[in-house]
Amino acid sequence: MSDGVYAANPYHEEEHKHTISVLVDNEPGVLARVIGLFSGRGYNIESLTVAETRHRQGLSRITIVTSGTAMIIEQIKAQLNRLVPIHSVSDLTIEGPSVERELALVKVNSTGDKRVEALRIADIFRARAVDSTNESFVFEIVGDTGKLDAFIELMKPLGLVDICRTGVVAIARGPEGMDGQD
């Protein structure tokens, strides 16, 4: 059968990826509220980062990368906005230009030519070796998601054994702060 008569996408729209920044009170359970909202309503989370950003005001900033139709993205923002401890929500994907970065730690285990090749590619990508043994490196690489994906892809045949990624952090370009404060 088709996707049903009360389906979430009755207009058969295309899905798009959006990066959403959320300023929240840094209080117990606030992350659970946000994550619970996404899982409970069946929204995607492709990446999520959170840390306190304004200690004095007790505010944390959550960056969520999600995907959905325009209708779903509007819903996500409206649903986030009505959570009590949320101060502001902004959609960096549509509210003007923004910068997105992600950091990864990539462990490569190899010797000989492969070890040299790994180091050479790391240099091209401006990744730094932050740990080294005779048969391994840990590289630190910063960039947008695509750059990290490409680097990891190239490391696969060169003895890739472990990856840790932070998920995307993002900020709007230009002089304005997120909610006009600071």
Binding site: M1, G4, V5, A8, P10, G29, G36, G40, R82, P85
Partner: protein, 587 residues
């Protein structure tokens, strides 16, 4: 700022009093003993002892809906809190303002799997508007006051405050409520003027307009309901109401087309389908309302007024959203209508009404009469007829066929007189909700329209009715089946009535008597009026057990998966196969 030292429990009681709470519905237990000790030592706050925490929550809902105030419940930790969950979600889906105080194990035991410990904030997070765990006594007064603000502002909803026992026993400073803007939660109440101006333009040009209003109007207050009536009567537009909205506009007025949706009237649903401009006020295009989404009101421009941005464009795309409180927006709309001297499209409107009268003439609520067996519809028609001269009639319902029949055959001329579980569809809601309603309105006639299966779901609350001598009337349409489920089995599952017949039902007359209440039974249509009159005239609580025809179905009906203009009727000879294959998967 004036401060006084109290223990946590004392702060809780003081805060409730300062918030204007007069009644709290609850059930004691180990973790909330300090609060019960404070309740014992004061006389301002009344406590109603229920028989199970689920009852306390629904009673608080009934209290809240019949008064427009915040309802308040008090339960203990662990099982007390988990029993409260259904009522919390019920209030969440129907936007009912509640504050539920839950006991919790002492802070040093949290996470220890202590006796009667539950992760209450974790469990209730998705079924409350907001919840708090109070870990420090210094936060308690602020959280108490904030909970009431959150529960009743914006789109109302339930708020849980989880109170560890050590915090309840610790001494702290009490601060009374203050009027400081909340740091993050400040819902928009005033609508955008430009959007309202555009709405007036669209409505004045409409040839086939309809007003579709819901529970948001009632939540906005009696003032908003008056403004709705003023706007509707000024324009002469037809109006339909959702299940939650009944009473927001006088049900006996000619401009009212009846309820819309799955069991709504033919004229309301056809008007929704064929209209050219739809004005949705405080309703949310719920799946019981829209039917098949891609065939929902295909040729209309839609205006949607709602205080909750997340209700807009959730399932139906609208042309003109107006975010704001219904009362504020309607007030501005009336002002702009008058100041711009807007006129309705008289000619179009007249032929629209002509069309509507043709639909009305179909008399979709007609049913086959029977001289020997009481038809459930007849029972409700007679209840309506015998109570229509009284202003102080409050109706609660359980969930199922009886609920839909009540919505179809009873008329509500003012808001806050109709309490039903709409969004969650909670069987067992009506009896405790009637308790809360009766506590709030001690001299009123409060009737719980029930089925025999729903009645059993919170039957223990007869004890509460008995203890507080509440004259609640329980009007059971006894068809010996879980009627609505049986109806779907008949229409969808080849009449295989799997587990919808309940044997071993109590003798409701004796059951009532065993609680010190009055039990009446009626089986003969000729004796129905006398039975209803006797029920109304009895000072005590009455269970009126009405034996109705067991296989009656609730019509008209938009079969699941169908559109507004594809209704089936009670007078249709054959309803078999009425629901298409792809509708079967839906509820």
């Amino acid at each position: 700022m004036p401060k006084e030292q109290l223990n946590g429990a004392g702060i809780v009681i003081k805060a409730l009093q300062d918030q204007g709470v007069e009644v709290v519905f609850g059930y004691p237990g180990g973790a909330v003993l300090p609060i019960y000790d404070e309740i014992f030592q004061q006389n301002k706050l009344r406590h109603i002892l229920v028989r199970q925490e689920g009852g306390a929550l629904h009673a608080a809902e009934g209290y809240a809906r019949s008064t427009g105030k915040v309802g308040c419940a008090l339960v203990t930790s662990g099982p007390g809190a988990t029993n409260a969950v259904t009522g919390l979600l019920d209030a969440m889906l129907d936007s009912i303002p509640l504050v539920c105080l839950c006991g919790q194990v002492p802070t040093h035991l949290i996470g220890n799997d202590a006796f009667q410990e539950a992760d209450t904030t974790g469990i209730t997070r998705p079924c409350t508007k907001h919840n708090y765990l109070v870990k420090n006594i210094e936060d308690l007064p602020r959280i108490m006051h904030e909970a009431f603000y959150v529960a009743e502002s914006g789109r109302p909803g339930p708020v849980v405050i989880d109170l560890p026992k050590d915090v309840l026993m610790e001494l702290g400073d009490y601060t009374p409520p203050t009027k400081i803007a909340h740091k993050s939660y400040n819902p928009q109440v005033k609508g955008d003027t430009a959007a309202i101006e555009q709405a007036v333009k669209m409505l004045s040009k409409a040839k086939k307009p309809i007003i579709y209003a819901g529970g948001g109007v009632i939540n906005s207050g009696t003032g908003a309901c008056q403004l709705l009536a003023q706007f509707t009567q000024m324009t002469g537009f037809p109006i339909t109401l959702t299940l939650m909205g009944l009473g927001a506009y006088p049900g006996s007025d000619d401009q009212f087309l009846g309820m819309l949706g799955m069991h709504g009237t033919y004229e309301a649903n056809m008007a929704m389908h064929d209209c050219d401009v739809m004005l949705c006020i405080g309703a949310r295009f719920d799946d019981r309302i829209t039917g098949r989404l891609d065939a929902f009101s295909p040729n209309s421009k839609k205006i949607h007024i709602d205080i909750d941005l997340s209700s807009i464009n959730k399932s139906v795309m609208v042309d003109l959203p107006i975010v704001g409180d219904v009362g504020h927006v309607l007030e501005d709309m009336l002002k702009i209508w008058k100041s711009t001297q807007a006129k309705v499209e008289e000619k179009g409107l007249a032929s629209w009404w002509k069309q509507i009268e043709e639909w009305r003439a179909k008399d979709c609520l007609a049913y086959k009469k029977d001289a020997k067996v009481i038809k459930p519809q007849l029972a409700l028609e007679r209840l309506q007829a015998l109570t229509q001269d009284r202003k102080d009639v409050f109706i609660t319902t359980e969930v199922g066929q009886h609920q839909m029949w009540a919505a179809q055959y009873l008329k509500f001329d003012s808001p806050n007189h109709w309490m039903t579980s709409g969004g969650l569809g909670t069987m067992g809601y009506g009896l405790p909700a009637a308790i809360g309603t009766q506590v709030a309105n001690p001299d009123a006639l409060v009737v719980d329209i029930s089925g025999e299966a729903s009645a059993m779901m919170n039957i223990q609350e007869l004890g509460t009715i008995s203890q507080y001598k509440l004259p609640v009337k329980i009007f059971i349409l006894n068809n010996q089946y879980m009627g609505m489920v049986r109806q779907w089995q008949e229409l969808l599952h080849g009449k295989r009535y799997s587990e919808t017949y309940m044997d071993g039902m109590p003798d409701f007359v004796k059951l009532a008597e065993s609680f010190g209440l009055v039990g009446l039974r009626v089986t003969d249509p000729d004796k129905l009026d006398d039975a209803i009159k006797e029920m109304m005239e009895t000072d005590n609580s009455v269970i009126l057990d009405i034996a109705v025809s067991p296989e009656e179905n609730c019509f008209p009906m938009i079969p699941s998966g169908a559109a507004h203009n594809e209704m089936i009727f009670g007078t249709d000879v054959n309803t078999e196969g009425a629901i298409a294959e792809d509708g079967m998967v839906l509820v």
